[in-house]
């Protein structure tokens, strides 16, 4: 997914998916070329335009690492890609059980793609639980590689297989590749003198090697990675490299794998530049560091660990040489408190959390609204309410971000749309916070946080200038001519108040959560003043400059699909499918949820129907209805997973036809 740029190829290429997904997967693999290397004795190589692989195993099987490595290989090969890690909240759920299954889905292609794919073409099932948990998503005809060593009586019984699915004919519709992964791995590592248990742990690398062979992935980066990861245990490093190579060689030699596949680099999908693969949380972390750099302010993170936001705390903690201070607080409230304290002192202050943490921070966000200090509140949404689904995605904290405070406490809300877009969104959120002296919500979600895609690395010259001017002297003249400093005397353009940091002589002032007199900032209980201040704080947020909403409507459609946040990929893929049919549909995607783009009302009024797909029960739709009196039609899914493109396309079609 190369969302930060839109290539002409986008429109045409995703349309292929439209037809492909309607067919069984066997058919879908409409190979464009067959590169039979006649006379060489080598295996047949077929060329595919795209593949969806899902690695699935026990939580302890290292599926996330396997997926990450395959992704890295794929990225460096130059395919476009999109990933969907999916893991349980338990660190090690009981082995071999359905709740303990962890999976990683990767979609890669020779063209621009937008989602991790609806259904895998290839499932790697490390045990019966992984097979059982995932088989429902696998279309008939797909390849399934199973670790036969695990298909013994007890592991099968544990997940309710009375007979072996490998033998009872229940998988006849699939291309089953039985591979004794455990045995082969142990055999391959004989010479390393490892215990059986130690050797067995490398079976994910064997599987990775096999898949890397099947799809002609470059292998150097994985070998380099393994040697670095186990630098302190060279024996383990070499064992993993050996298992990885054994898997590759197994593919090359065994007859069960007669064909390997090539997916050419997606050269046309990418504008010129240097690329890397990046997850949403990493891009967001880099965006924060870049924002500090561009603002020439020290970055201060106050955070309390919470899934799926902790990665940002981890990442920022690695970059202390940028002057980044990370403070792991005693709780969510202290985390934002420390950030707000740092903001008062002149830092670019950030707190990172997820839904339950946002709830705890609400009072302090209200204080930040009242103090009018810049503060980034990064919320990586997950399934709720309460503890909910910590490792699954959702968009159900929009209204919490918008309204979850006491009093009239407007806070701008910025939502990234793809993993790589988290970088730009972080810079944008920082721009708003610094320019308007306000807390800002940066509302990402679990799908963006953990998913990844190629990212064109920007030159630092391309980044926005975020420098701010601290107050340095008096800003007001009293009637008697005395020059004074008024902490709440506003910039007439932005309505922002001055940022006067401690240490500045002559500007000593006190601020607090009690209502302040306009201008002086002194405590004021005056009714008219409170009314004025409430309206002024609202006007400041309403007046924030955000770009107009762009509408993609090549066919003059009557129906608009409007999304926000991480649904961008699935919505865009669905729109491409419909247009291919052809069903005209217009698409727009909101980055700014507060304030809305100025032209949003006008855009909405242009269409007969407005469909709003959300991973909640209609929160944006509620806001649109309230503000624009538009009959926004909600399409909702709250199952912890992103929308599937096909499902969305069907729903949009139904809405258009209704």
């Amino acid at each position: 997914m190369t969302s930060q740029v839109s290539s002409p190829a986008e429109q045409a290429d995703e349309a292929d998916d439209a037809n492909e997904n309607d067919r069984a997967v066997g058919e879908q693999r409409a190979e464009r070329h067959i590169l039979a290397r006649e006379g060489t004795g080598e295996k047949e190589v077929r060329r595919l335009d795209r593949v969806i692989i899902r690695f699935a195993g026990d939580s302890g099987d290292g599926m996330q690492l396997t997926g990450d490595r395959f992704t890295s290989e794929t990225a460096s090969f130059g395919n476009d890609l999109s990933t969907l890690p999916n893991f349980p909240a338990e660190i090690r759920a009981p082995a071999g059980t359905l709740p303990g299954v962890s999976s990683f889905q990767l979609h890669f292609a020779d063209h621009d793609i937008l989602t991790p794919g609806d259904a895998p073409n290839v499932l790697v099932a490390m045990n019966p639980a992984a097979l059982k948990a995932n088989i429902g998503d696998v279309p008939r005809g797909a390849d399934i590689i199973v670790n036969t060593d695990e298909f013994t009586k007890r592991p099968m019984a544990k997940v309710g297989y009375l007979t072996s699915p490998l033998e009872d004919g229940s998988l006849d519709a699939y291309q089953i590749h039985p591979v004794p992964l455990t045995t082969l791995t142990i055999e391959a590592l004989k010479e390393f003198g490892l215990s059986r248990k130690e050797a067995e742990r490398s079976k994910n690398m064997f599987a990775l090697g096999l898949l890397s062979w099947m799809y002609h992935r470059p292998t150097e980066s994985t070998e380099r990675f393994l040697r670095a990861k186990f630098a302190k245990k060279p024996q383990i490093a070499e064992a993993n490299v050996a298992a990885f190579r054994a898997g590759w060689n197994f593919g090359e030699t065994t007859e069960d794998f007669a064909v390997s596949y090539e997916v050419a680099p997606a050269a046309a999908a990418f504008p010129a530049g240097t690329y890397r693969n990046i997850s949403g949380n990493l891009a967001l972390s880099y965006g924060l560091i870049a924002a500090g750099h561009q603002a020439d302010l020290p970055l201060y993170l106050g955070s309390y660990p919470i899934t799926p936001a902790s990665d940002i705390l981890h990442e920022l903690s690695k970059h202390k040489n940028f002057g980044v201070r990370t403070f792991q607080a005693e709780d969510e409230i202290a985390a934002i408190g420390a950030a707000l304290g740092a903001a008062f002192g002149g830092s670019l202050a950030v707190t990172t959390t997820s839904g339950p943490g946002v709830a705890l921070k609400s009072e302090t966000i209200g204080l930040a609204v009242s103090l009018e200090l810049p503060l980034l509140v990064v919320a990586i949404q997950r399934g709720g309410p309460s503890t909910g689904l910590p490792t699954k995605t959702e968009q159900a904290d929009l209204l919490q971000a918008m309204y979850g405070r006491n009093g009239e406490a407007p806070v701008p809300v910025v939502a990234p749309r793809t993993p790589a877009d988290c970088f730009d969104a972080a810079l944008d959120a920082a721009r708003i916070a610094l320019t308007y002296r306000t807390p800002v919500f940066l509302l990402s979600d679990g799908y963006l946080a953990n998913g990844s895609e190629p990212w064109r690395i920007p030159e630092t010259e391309e980044l926005p200038d975020l420098r701010v001017q601290f107050a340095t002297g008096p800003n007001h003249q009293l009637a008697d001519g005395t020059e004074v400093f008024w902490p709440y005397k506003r910039d007439p353009g932005t309505l922002a108040r001055p940022w006067a940091v401690p240490g500045t002589p002559g500007l000593e002032h006190r601020i607090g959560g009690i209502e302040k007199q306009d201008g002086t900032g002194n405590i004021s209980y005056d009714p008219a003043n409170h009314d004025f201040m409430v309206r002024t704080r609202q006007a400041k947020i309403d007046g924030i400059e955000v770009p107009d909403l762009e509408v993609d409507d090549p066919d003059g459609a009557r129906t608009l699909v409007l999304g926000w946040g991480s649904t961008y990929g699935p919505i865009t893929a669905a729109v491409r499918r419909l247009r291919k049919e052809p069903v005209p549909i217009a698409q727009a995607h909101l980055r700014h949820l507060n304030p809305f783009p100025r032209n949003l009302g006008e855009v909405l009024s242009r269409y007969d129907k407005v469909v709003v797909p959300e991973m909640n029960l209609g929160q944006l739709a509620t806001m649109l209805r309230a503000k624009y009196l538009v009959d926004a039609h909600s399409y909702n899914q709250v199952n912890g997973m992103p929308f599937k493109a096909e499902q969305l396309a069907t729903a949009l079609k139904e809405a258009i036809d209704a």
């Binding site: 010129a272 202390k320 040489n321 940028f322 985390a335 690395i457 240490g503 500007l507 000593e508 006190r510």
Partner: protein, 358 residues
Amino acid sequence: MPDTTTSAITNELLTLVPRAEGKQSMKDFKSDQEVRWCPGCGDYAVLAAVQGFMPQLGLAKENIVFVSGIGCSSRFPYYMNTYGMHSIHGRAPAIATGLATSRRDLSVWVVTGDGDALSIGGNHLIHALRRNVNLKILLFNNRIYGLTKGQYSPTSEVGKITKSTPMGSLDAPFNPVSLAIGAEASFVARTVDSDRKHLTEVLRQAAEHPGTALVEIYQNCNIFNDGAFEVLKDKDQAAEAVIRLEHGQPIRFGADGAKGVVRNRATGDLEVVAVTPENEADVLVHDAHAASPTTAFALSRLADADTLHHTPIGVLRSVERPVYDTLMSDQLDAAVERHGKGDLSAMLAGGDTWTVVG
């Protein structure tokens, strides 16, 4: 109280805070805001003592910040002509932590009360203490909720009759000094609002302490809990009730120092005895700098929670321990030393990359 406890400590952290250029006076620290505590409130005395002490400290006033929570005492920052933040209930230590750890050139003070610090904000207080952030925490303890008009507080004596406890409160109170020592505090002191001289001396020692200093100030709420500390203030009773701790001095009190604190050899606990020529040598010599907090804790337990008899005041504990802000700053320096100053382009282009030629 003579200057004894600080002889072993020189706070190098204070050198990071710019000094005042000219001579300061108490007036420099008075803001233009009208003080709005109830007439007769003990807070007035503390405010005057702090404003009077600040010129002695001699720091540039623009580098001094008072952060408070919610409660009567938390209005304090409005009356100080320094930087200040009146924040939300219980969170001042957390907010001050962010400020102090990001700005080592500031002298950061927290003003809080028994409800603010020990009830709603208890968590932040203990964590600030264990981290040893460079904060000076003034805990105004009046053993009552004043701003909400008179409910019992976490330091109220058991059985306290208030609006919310017409049949008497049920909760056992906190002893803030014991709590702070248990939370690994490196500096713990107690003083009384009405004893300006003692209060000022404790403030001075707190200011000079590197790390978190907790100063419990017994403060009279003349509206809702009047006379709560009368036994410690009344000339006739105070001699018997108050144990004035001085580092390096035998712990004696009462008329002519007739009473003393000795260690019970059997239990190791501390007890109050009448001093005689036979046991005089056994009277405990106060050591605020003792590495172990055991004796300081035992001293904090001498007071009777109901009658306040045998209440030690002064600096109970003052030890040097690594300061969080310094450690945090050192890590930043070490990271630069190890990896060089952060290079944004290099970071963004890290990991496996590939190039697409247009």
